[in-house]
């Protein structure tokens, strides 16, 4: 990509900033309580009063969708930070120390990779208690392996570069080399991974909530709203599905676009040698 293009902000970034603003300013942008039911007007199609319509309990969908942004972004970003943090630590240790530590950690990666992610997640959230924090934990603990493999292979190659060897020759200890030489050179992987993982984690949260296995139902999350919208579908009611759905797609799409953009900008080799 030429430098001319690089000067413009990523369209993904612009959208994400807009979404963050929506999440923060939700109380000022809405006129209805997102949680309290209003029995007067259930299943109202979109109108001037309720731009996104109302659900089966008469709750304003516009408010719920806006407040849902908070839940989705919170869960998505926290789970992504956890997953990438954990993966980076495992990958660093594995790649830097090699030998037995490496083979034990990599067998662990293989093991956790074996069960399909969805099924492992469903088992975790069923067997342990279910609230926002355990959902974040469950998503984080099932998504660290790809980062671990990536960081490991990069750490392996950096370890053999001359500047690391000279640091070793000068008598630097392991923790110094890891923190001062290897980790900073891998920061770009972490930034890209966190971004792309946030998108994936938002999808995962919405999937779990949609199945009724995610965020507790009293909280307005997009997945929860779609769970409730399921029975409206058979009656041909489209707005309860459409608006939360559009929000998920927009959010995930803009985060993915930002991730792709970051990949192009941050990768040391712009021909795309670093497959992420």
């Amino acid at each position: 990509m030429d430098n001319e293009k690089m000067r413009y902000a990523s369209p993904g970034l612009v959208l994400i900033i807009a979404l963050l603003l929506l999440a923060v300013l939700a109380p000022y942008l809405t006129f209805y309580d997102p949680v309290r039911a209003s029995l007067g007007e259930p299943m109202h199609p979109p109108s001037f009063d309720h731009p996104f319509g109302t659900d089966h309990l008469g709750r304003d969908l516009f408010s719920r969708v806006l407040y849902g942004t908070r839940v989705s972004l919170l869960v998505g970003m926290s789970a992504a930070l956890l997953a990438v943090g954990l993966g980076a630590v495992v990958g660093l240790f594995s790649g830097y120390y090699g030998g037995r530590i490496d083979s034990i950690l990599m067998r662990l990666v293989d093991t956790v990779y074996s069960p399909p992610e969805t099924i492992l997640l469903m088992v975790l959230v069923t067997m342990f208690t279910r609230n926002v924090w355990t959902i974040i934990l469950a998503i984080g603990l099932t998504h660290w392996m790809s980062t671990a493999r990536l960081v490991r292979s990069e750490a392996l190659s950096i370890r053999q570069r001359p500047f690391v060897e000279s640091a070793v020759a000068l008598g630097a200890n392991d923790s110094y080399i890891l923190l001062a030489h290897i980790a900073p050179n891998l920061l770009y992987i972490a930034v890209i991974s966190v971004t792309l993982m946030t998108a994936h984690a938002i999808l995962t949260e919405s999937f779990l909530s949609f199945l009724g296995l995610g965020i507790p139902p009293h909280l307005p999350s997009w997945g929860n709203m779609l769970n409730e919208a399921q029975r409206d579908i058979m009656r041909g009611i489209w707005w309860t599905t459409l608006f939360p759905g559009v929000m998920i797609v927009t959010t995930v799409l803009s985060i993915n676009l930002l991730g792709e953009d970051l990949k192009k900008r941050l990768s040391p080799n712009r021909e795309g040698r670093h497959e992420l």
């Binding site: 093991t111 956790v112 099924i119 469903m122 599905t241 995930v252 993915n256």
Partner: protein, 328 residues
């Protein structure tokens, strides 16, 4: 088959026991660390509530629940190895029986979905690669991005709304009609009609991966020396792309099957749950909703085995297909 290939396959197979051990440990640890009461998991809540406490204690002793954790693990592992995967309380039958009964439906759905996805993805990816940078490539890449960012369940809901509710063309759930036809031909028709929506939704959810993969690998192959050689030979562009670039980019595709397998099984959970398709995905959902712990553990083990087997077969197929592979 030469001996180095045989050695490679043997070594690859020898890695499996360790992986199996790891998975059994993982499954057991999740169960052990969770707040789930093991007696209730084994016997079911209602049974335990009905039993006198001294009987419960007796059963706990029988199951080895009073033993230290490593003994409990070994006792559990021994049962698993002997094919005793516990009892499913929601299905009132042994876990393995239930899983085997449901598996063919999932197999039918995933194979159909996978085939549609692969055909469409490869075709569209090839079109995009051949016309890289053109309007059609930009459009296809854009659509691809949107599909990739759309959760499968949303696609399923919208497909159901449009094709089952508004248009009324296709049934919205189950594998066969309630008043199922008994004659062979109408029965087959009935099956196919029920398969269309779930299979296409499943296919669509994996389309992006196939498309991106084929597009980039064909584009990459176009940079290779043998393409220049083929062109220098005077072959027309069509032959260069189809016979050289495309064929070579199909090879690594084989290993992708192994990567797709867990995704497909995961995707089937959503699709099967929404369309009430009686496979192991729906089974997982039911087991999770109604806290059937033994069934859940069995499903983790079973699907992990599938994935390991799929990866093994993909690796072997790749080694067989590509003579250049160094079995290192």
């Amino acid at each position: 088959m030469d001996s180095s290939l045989a050695r490679y396959i043997l070594r690859r197979i020898l890695q499996i026991p360790l992986l199996l051990l790891g998975i059994s440990l993982l499954t057991f640890l999740i169960f052990y660390l969770s707040p789930v009461n093991p007696t209730i998991a084994y016997l079911g809540l209602i049974t335990v509530q009905k039993m006198p406490p001294e009987d419960v204690a007796k059963v706990e002793k029988q199951l080895g629940l009073d033993q230290p954790v490593q003994v409990r693990y070994l006792v559990w592992l021994e049962r698993i190895v002997h094919g005793d995967w516990g009892y499913s309380h929601i299905k009132k039958r042994p876990v393995l029986d239930v899983i085997f009964e449901r598996f063919p439906a999932t197999l039918l759905l995933t194979i159909t979905g996978y085939s549609i996805s692969a055909l469409l993805g490869v075709a569209l990816g090839l079109i995009s690669a051949v016309r890289a940078g053109s309007r059609i490539d930009v459009a296809l890449s854009g659509i691809n991005h949107v599909i990739y960012s759309t959760p499968t369940f949303l696609v399923a809901l919208l497909a159901m709304l449009v094709f089952a509710v508004w248009l009324g063309w296709l049934p919205s759930s189950r594998m066969v009609s309630v008043d199922r036809p008994t004659l062979a031909w109408p029965m087959l028709q009935d099956r196919i009609i029920h398969l269309i929506l779930p299979a296409f939704v499943l296919a669509l959810s994996h389309l992006a991966v196939f498309y991106t993969y084929i597009r980039s690998s064909v584009l990459e192959a176009m940079q290779e020396d043998y393409i220049i050689a083929a062109r220098a030979k005077g072959l027309n562009e069509r032959a260069v792309i189809l016979r050289h670039a495309f064929r070579n980019s199909l090879l690594p595709f084989i290993t992708q099957i192994g990567i797709f397998l867990p995704l497909l099984i995961g995707g089937s959970v959503v699709v099967e749950s929404i369309f009430a398709w009686p496979g192991i995905g729906k089974l997982t959902y039911d087991a999770a909703l109604r806290a059937d712990y033994m069934l859940l553990m069995g499903l983790v083990l079973f699907t992990s085995l599938l994935v390991i087997l799929g990866n093994l077969l993909a690796d072997i197929a790749y080694a067989l297909a590509d003579p250049r592979v160094k079995y290192g």
